[in-house]
Symmetry: C2
């Protein structure tokens, strides 16, 4: 693309904050946030440090403990008025050595590259070998004869539907097999469970994530296969070349560990008892570096504090950055935060989460009253020049869900970044710092800062 | 991010094509395009082939000739009713061995990693050594005494303004120094010109692109430095550690070469003499693989043909995919296309260009009458579920500019993808296939197909 087009752009566009009069002063402040975060800020280098110096950080791990101390320090340096930890007991799932081996009828053995599904029991290092039964859906499985499943390993070969414009609308359907598939298979007598990854990439990275055992059924081992491994297995099954599958794993759920939410606040100058919570989660899965999920959200929330302090503005309400622990496999941090807020009878105006990746921001989803939504929508012109245009979707976030459930607040929001790359990466070895673009990450931080500030000044 | 949030999304959202009645039938067709391109199509693999089997392809090169034959064949395979070539003579700039060497006062020499600015003359391999004078702007240079510049090498150290939300709004300002800087320096007696790259990345990839010599002044050599090299040079100049700069280059402008625009059409069933042109450019700079610029646009335009043919619909008007040659350093293809269209007195309804990268589509910029714009905007609901929301900007494209200048059409449009990553990559060694995401590229192709189809059915 040459600059001829660009001159045309420039000629006809200012992209300045053309605003209704009442937001003129705000737009000057918001512009300061933007200029700072896009130019001088260290938001992107925060992410680099978190990803490269600490790396992945599953709840209960040494890395998660390091991340807590790192976040506390970075929040202090960012200028928060007060920084503190909220203790919370978290599960500690430990990934061991994991194998899925195809035992072919021609006596050959082929090792795949699986990822055990998070929270699942291993096999104590004792191989579980059985014939495999492949199904595409829950309904397929339920339509089988008991003898077709009993004593076998079920392969949920549920295929990601690429045709959806928004991959988040597909994830919910696919992830069922990861979350509930193992116990569904066990219900029908299966001795093991293998799933096709709940992700959108056509690659060799298996996609882990949370599952839960139904206490009514045996706790069978559960593994996720990458797209390529799943297609390979499907082909071999269709050609009837497989004798048995072997699952072997030393993964296990360890004892619970004391961990922390990390909280940093800017105390409101006029309505300090009115709180705006905004957060992401500090823990990650135990593969990759948790860059998009949710290192990006963590550093964006820290940036809100830094950008507001840098602009030397004094927000009316109290702004509370909460870096939650254990979103991925227990939600203990989110639950504990809501319990404490309820117990202290805190007055929460709104809670915002950023946990959908570090790509360009496109909007905020929202759950609350129509009047509240309309108030947020009245600010749309301030956000539009950033490419943040969509305030229509219902939403919120996992960690702030308990705040709404416990009626601590009735308004929850979630930053909505461009969704196309997220499920190519998240919960895989491929969710690393290099996958995050500096400008995209920073634009998300700017959108968060702007929204938090407007909520601080105008409430809901 | 866990699936709790996603269930919430799913619960409240359908993201289906909720349409005013008159577009119900269209939305069914558009949905077919989307499903096909996002799932079955080979659009992404077209880009892989273009990038990996042919690679970069500057006008007049053997690779550009290969790209012409490749594109012709792919358009035939995509199902175009007719495919033909439009001959056009193009310049052939040849990059040679290029050096920028810092000669320090302590006698050390440091080699940088420059890229010669496209179209510039080299030094015939004879080093040009001179003291360096650093300026940040045109005004800085014009404020100097003649003796400060005469016989020296001018370093335009103009810094990319990262604070702009849309990097396209910055490019126009920065690129002035690449395009006109060398002759401006020569006007004041400089013997060489070095510029800080007109790009947004903080990295070591220099950014090439087009320049033009003003015939009134000597044709001095011109080099671009990466962000890191430019900062390094700036620091050494400020510390007064530099004695001289040496520029050495064997780059040159070769004789013109016969090349081609590649055209593929679907002939309209009802109004075949009414033409909708849509295109990208087949040539690229001679570094990287021209993946975002403009391999992405090329394969998206081919996909328009393929998706429409796959859906077995018969567009009313004639759809003409034009893969232009020589956008980057001459615009010969765009000019020749417009000349022929004018000569044949063709009836062009609208022209659309996709030449701003293969990221997620966000809108279409538009130049035409207000009534035309309103017609396009009346289709917005069809595009909104794709995240394509912005039809407000003025725009068009370089290759289709001559169509408008020659009054062949008065309506031009450009696909507007998310702009954040583009200037980190384009015109550098880093603009490679791996930088393009399959879903993002395909979403852009879907948006293009939808727009072309709507124009075909409803005109402007």
């Amino acid at each position: 693309m040459k600059f001829v087009l660009v001159f045309l752009f420039l000629f006809f566009n200012s992209y300045s904050f053309a605003q209704p009069n009442n937001f003129v002063q705000d737009s000057i402040v918001l512009d300061k946030f933007k200029a700072y975060t896009l130019t001088e800020s260290v938001c992107y280098y925060d992410l680099q440090n978190l990803c490269k110096k600490i790396g992945h950080r599953i709840s209960g791990s040494t890395a998660a403990a390091k991340a807590v101390e790192w976040a506390r320090q970075v929040l202090i340096n960012a200028g928060a008025d007060t920084v503190y930890l909220q203790p919370v007991m978290v599960p500690h799932w430990v990934r061991g050595k994991e194998d899925v081996i195809l035992n072919l009828k021609n006596k050959k053995k082929i090792k795949l590259n699986p990822l055990g599904i998070g929270n699942s029991d291993g096999t104590n290092g004792k191989p579980v070998s059985a014939p495999v039964v492949m199904v595409n859906s829950k309904e397929d499985l339920e339509g089988l004869q008991p003898s077709d499943v009993k004593g076998k390993i079920v392969f949920f070969n549920h295929v990601w539907d690429q045709s959806k414009a928004n991959p988040f609308h597909e994830y919910g359907g696919c992830v069922y097999y990861r979350w509930a598939g193992p116990s569904l298979a066990a219900k029908y007598g299966a001795v093991g469970c293998v799933i096709r990854s709940a992700g959108s990439a056509y690659d060799s990275f298996a996609h882990t994530g949370s599952m839960r055992y139904d206490s009514a059924y045996p706790r069978i081992p559960a593994m996720a296969l990458s797209y390529k491994d799943a297609v390979f297995l499907e082909q071999l099954i269709n050609k009837k070349e497989i004798n048995q599958l072997t699952i072997n794993s030393t993964s296990y759920m360890d004892a619970e560990v004391l961990s922390y939410n990390v909280v940093g606040e800017i105390i409101g100058t006029e309505l300090s008892n009115e709180i705006i919570t905004f957060g992401g989660h500090l823990d990650s899965w135990d593969v990759g570096e948790g860059a998009h999920d949710d290192g990006a959200g963590v550093v964006q929330c820290i940036e809100v504090i830094r950008a507001i302090k840098n602009a030397r503005v004094n927000p009316k309400r109290t702004l509370r950055c909460v870096l939650f622990m254990n979103e991925e496999n227990g939600l203990r941090g989110g639950k504990e935060y809501a319990r404490l807020a309820k117990q202290k009878n805190e007055n929460h105006i709104c809670a915002i989460e950023t946990d959908a990746g570090g790509t360009s921001p496109r909007g905020f989803n929202f759950s609350g009253t129509e009047a509240q939504r309309n108030k947020v929508k009245s600010w749309l012109n301030l956000f539009y020049p950033l490419g943040v245009y969509d305030f229509e979707e219902e939403g919120g976030g996992a960690d702030i869900g308990p705040l709404k459930e416990n009626k601590v607040t009735n308004a929850v929001m979630g930053l909505f970044p461009d969704p196309q790359r997220y499920f190519d990466l998240h919960h895989t070895h491929n969710d690393v710092f290099e996958q995050v673009n500096r400008r995209e990450l920073s634009m998300g931080a700017v959108a968060m800062t702007m929204m938090v500030y407007m909520l601080s000044e105008y409430g809901l």
